[in-house]
Amino acid sequence: MLHYCVETKDLVRIFKSKNEVVKALDKVSISIGEGEIFGLLGPNGAGKTTFIKILTTLLLPTSGEAYVGGFDVVKESDKVRKIISLVSGGETPGYGILSVRENLWFFSQLYGLSSSVAKEEIRRLMADLDFEEYAGTRMSKLSTGYRQRLNLARGLLSKPKILFLDEPTLGLDVLTAKNLREYIVDWAKRERKGTVLLTTHYMAEADEMCDRVAIIDRGRILACDSPFKLKENLEENVIVKMEVSSVRADFSFIDDLGGVVGYSQTRSIQTDTTTLKVMVHDESILSKITSKIEGQKLKILSVNKAEPTLEDVYISLVGRGFEEEEAG
């Protein structure tokens, strides 16, 4: 029998308030193997954090089953907590009045590390994550990037078997985010052979880090495979990027055209342009799109064919890009 580190079966979570009922997770079934880096990709509000909160014993499911390390997250939550760690992006990683070293020592105690072992582990992690010089700095005085390093160090202190990362690079600059991603991959693959469940809404992050990715939208898993295979499935489609001369360009006419798999648009106020990314089955539809755009007295500044990305996978499944989904 195949042993999974994380397994869910028809997991459902419903939130009820006075005015509405929201199905945050709708029969989510996922299996993650040992040593795997698994990504849950979806826009804000897709159900990623709800999923991770159930697996880390912070939330009860409405129905369905969830196992972490073979333990039931509801009935054996104590056993689950011994083998996991949770790092949430954009979180305060401890007490502002304490220094980095003091904060890490405090959190090491929550996992029962002896002070001597904790001190050595703290020193090693600060060196690995390159923030040793801030050891004596109060947490409240750290920049976002260094806070997130502290957050990650806190998560790794207990040497978890399964690491849950909820938007770990949220709000970080490109270089810090890249360094943290590399470190996590290195940790999972070489040092500890740990399992990672990562939630993100950054396509590149999921693409770069994950062995497998599940795309989630409105609580439902739409696809689950390796980034390569997910993108490979799109090869029969044509993806084109067009830069159009106004930020007010209206592409709603595309909804009425047949043969369009989906599209997304990114508006830039600085350059007063809109970039339209459209995925079609048949290239002949592109001429209809260009003529409609020109009919709006807009200029098409450039047209390029694009290689499929995970965003395109999302567009092909939902019909729209992440930004429209989040705005809607």
Binding site: L86, G96, F107
Partner: protein, 288 residues
Amino acid sequence: MFTSALLEEALKRKRLVKQMREQLIHNLRVTYARLWVRIKGSNREPEWIAAELVIPILTLSAYVYLYKMLNAPSEYAGFVIIGGTMIAFWVNVLWNMSAQFYWEKETGTLEAYLVAPISRMAILLGMALGGIVNTTLRAIVILVAGTIIFQAPLIVNEPFTALLLFFLTIIALYALGMLFASLFMLYGREAWHTASLLQEPVYFLSGSYFPVKMLPFFVQLVASLIPLTFGLDGIRRVVILGAGIADIWLDIIALVIFIAVLLPLAKFALNYMENLGKKEGRLTLRWQ
């Protein structure tokens, strides 16, 4: 066959004992760590320490001068000083204990506690012990300063009875704080307002600055629901009027009952609120 079953049973029991011992040591570490954070954090900002010392002295000074103006007996100064000293604990219980999980939730550290393999009671205990150490040091300063400034006559015939009463009062108060902390865990701004709402009525009902006996019977009945009322009454009688254990045994019994009820209730409330939070999804929901 029989002996191997016995051997197996003995080994199982030994493993269980070992596991329990390890768990106990782990949770004691957690308690110590949380205590350490509280002490370290509270003493890093001198303005904070100054405020915690100066404000109670100013308040009790106002009452002492008022009683002097009314030509009240000299013991009244002592009553007020003891009241001011003990009220420091109530303020600490209310703001640094009851509302603490609310703050931990807002800053994100509550999530770290809930994901860790620890007893939540160990965290609460650490918070309480840290608060007791900090506030005791401040209370001693208030007591000594008040006694010297106003030359309040203290007659302590039974210092051990005074200490016993003090510790029972503190344990009962912090047990109440642990209960409040559990109840406030799920709430947002309401927790803050509830803490504000409880502050002044307890000053009034516990008789911090005047004798409770002056209040109507019904109000005295309500006051008897607050551990501080019994603690203050007993400590004042032992420290100012020179009473002994035979005179204050009712206060001791009341405090013991408070502790026996409040501590298990706090543990129950903590488990109940955690489960409710997990069910309703409010455990880590912030800025409500």
